[in-house]
Symmetry: C2
DNA sequence: TATAATTGTTAGTTTTGTCTAACAATTATT
DNA sequence: AATAATTGTTAGACAAAACTAACAATTATA
């Protein structure tokens, strides 16, 4: 019985897959390799693990397709990323780069509830200070 | 040449070692095993890795002593933990338990600069709203 | 359409961190 | 002091993620 949850690492792959498909209609392994700074071999491994957990459909030499389960997870993580970045940028006044860097690590570990509160707080705050 | 940086996992061991020594004057492996919910064997491994990186002094069947380097790192992480908990509790109004849970994961990944800004923000905010 | 370049896969290795089970050392109890 | 209980270590497995090097498939180009 395989574990169905995603590690931070696999969430990053999924996020990247989703974003590329959104913007370009498709993704290739070489592109994930470039954007995530990992070897092509590591991408192949990750694609197999994601497929095993049903977040994507993938067969050797085939195209990478994201499943509805994958879309759900990806949008969830990306939503967190967006709000966290906004919080660090608008509330704490960090550069976009550092805001995004922090968002990128925290998005994988923050609890649902904490995120919800942070989201409300950030939106309140941004409303008042814009 | 061994890597001198600490993973999240090893930081947790070090934090636990430091806190126990502070409160009780010493720690035993069994206590770390209990508090961190890992086997005694895993603790032995972790102690060797921490000793190799010079964060603690340790020899088989010997007592666990934290080095000055270890104290520096532990207090840094604990400092982050404290402020992050305060932020989640006082600013976002989470329960102490959930505040601490989030602090526990974020303390290992937040950048120095982001932490500094968050600290200032939290102290400002707490000052105004107490 | 051959050939060359690019992309993807496989096999084998490494590191980190975990586990269990068996054994050794230490500490407590009778 | 001898025995029992607790604590610590070792050995051997396993899983997740990464790597390189060699090879296979695909795509582009001469």
């Amino acid at each position: 019985m395989s574990d169905l949850t995603l590690s931070s690492g696999l969430e990053d792959y999924l996020e990247c897959i989703y974003n590329n498909i959104e913007h370009n209609g498709s993704v290739k392994a070489i592109e994930l390799s470039r954007e995530l700074n990992v070897s092509r071999a590591s991408v192949t491994d990750a694609l197999h693990r994601l497929a095993e957990k049903k977040y994507i459909n993938y067969e050797r030499y085939g195209s990478i397709e994201i499943t509805s389960k994958g879309i759900e997870k990806a949008t969830e993580v990306i939503g967190k990323h967006t709000i966290l970045t906004k919080f660090f940028e608008k509330v704490l006044k960090l550069s976009n780069e550092e805001a995004s860097e922090n968002a990128c690590s925290i998005e994988h570990v923050i609890t649902q509830n904490a995120f919800k509160k942070l989201k409300d707080f950030t939106q309140q705050y941004a409303g008042k200070n814009d």
